[in-house]
Symmetry: C3
Subunit: 204 residues, 3 copies
């Protein structure tokens, strides 16, 4: 059987752009927690990257709505786009907590979790690059999930420690929420991996 309609490659390019933009945001987040200074400028930069992500999301959904033949299930393109967007939203949301709650001294787990988020985003970038070329998407996805487990353990331990040591309830609320937002970002990265897995399994 031969293909009559050539596969549209635009979607793959657009997903690469989305992944690259997400990696930039994750890098900025790591830098924020690793060198905790100029936080106002750094969180503003993450916000700027998030706006680029909004435009990329909007562009891909518009294209999806106007395209009749898609390279893989429309439903999966939709899910992939929105789960990528969720990760970016949560990275921004974590940075946002810094300014909103005037957090002076984030716990080491915040830097640790950001690094896990970055590692996941880099794996997702590789997976997306492999998607078009039938590369090893599934191994990348497994890595993303492994990182999610690591983040889960790290955040649980950090929150447990927080409840032991932090006696100021208002500060506890702030730090707990920061850690939860970071952990949720790693869950959402796992969601992206799950969609990618589905796409590969359906099309093999």
């Amino acid at each position: 059987m031969f293909r009559i309609i050539p596969r549209d490659t635009t979607f793959f390019t657009m997903f690469s752009e989305i992944a690259d933009n997400l990696i930039s945001a994750a890098r900025a987040l790591v830098d924020l927690f690793d060198h905790y200074q100029d936080t106002a400028a750094k969180t503003a930069e993450i916000k700027r990257i998030e706006h680029i992500g909004d435009d990329l999301t909007h562009a891909i959904l518009t294209k999806l709505n106007q395209t009749f033949i898609t390279p893989f299930d429309r439903e999966d393109i939709y899910r992939l786009t929105s789960s990528f967007d969720d990760v970016l939203d949560l990275i921004n949301s974590a940075a946002d907590r810094i300014t909103m709650y005037k957090i002076i001294d984030p716990p080491p787990a915040a830097a640790e979790l950001s690094k896990i988020i970055l590692a996941q985003c880099e794996e997702l970038g590789r997976a997306v690059a492999h998607l078009q070329k039938n590369g090893d998407v599934l191994t990348r996805c497994i890595e993303v999930k492994r990182f999610e487990n690591a983040a889960d353990v790290a955040s649980r331990e950090a929150i447990s420690r927080l409840f032991e040591r932090e006696k100021d309830p208002i500060n506890l609320i702030k730090i707990k929420e920061l850690l939860e937002v970071l952990e949720t970002a790693t869950d959402k990265a796992e969601d992206v991996a799950n969609v990618l897995e589905t796409v590969v399994l359906k099309n093999n």
Copy 2:
């Protein structure tokens, strides 16, 4: 090409009823925070409207499951119905916090956010009315999103202020949650707009 099976208009009528009911709930919420008295009766009224919404949701999903030809994608009818229901649930949930937490003195941002929710629901009502007549749905959807951004800014500022001023952690927990529930309602209204946008773009 001519249409053999006439488009079923019942779904449009049902969505108008859902939108009208939602607008009633949003109005009752604005009244609750604008004139903060008789709160027990007012929250009971919102609960009553929410039950009507449950019946409307159930009716449309039953019809969907029994209808073979739908005026637009079944998946989108499903999504539209449940995202409308989410907004109503959150309006009720916000009102509920008043009784559950015995909130005596809600912050001005609660009234402000309710008004944004009402403005969104009115736009959604107009969008739904335009849907059948090919009116300007997209402009209405853009407005709903603009309002969501405004709500986001308002709630972030209000929560940031709360952390500065409120020294009683238990009161802080109550008010923070009230503001978050209100802000989530505006997110869910944006979700409705996103589905409506998809429906229009697919069918043009």
Copy 3:
């Protein structure tokens, strides 16, 4: 019209396994709160059951991705699987709060809510068993929703009481979250019932 391809019954068997595993988890949760001792061993046991659930979820999604003809809509198989998984995750998450927050004395509502969760899971098990044999799935689903309403009332009352009595904000945060996680488990059980309802209505 006669059927050329026989319906694959594997999915029904797999959903029965998922339901049975979920019932085990819910039973362990009831036991944990009813006899509040050896909590470390009991929460570890729930974690073990959750891992089995992860494997079952993975197996059914893999099969779904590789199966061309499914006994009901792929989308609904996907939704059913992930909503079942959500209930299990939340049961584990509730148990987890015990160790994470070192909760010494959970409120009676925790035991009450666990019993509601178990009752729901048992109804879901019956519904899944009926699914293949065209038994009375809908009545089971209505029961699941009725239990969700009961859980909603129970958790609201318990949280309201907590805010009245608990003066230690950090303890309040712990118990509030435990109750919310338990209540969310009953919401997710309702989601499972909603998917089952959809499946039945579409296929009748």
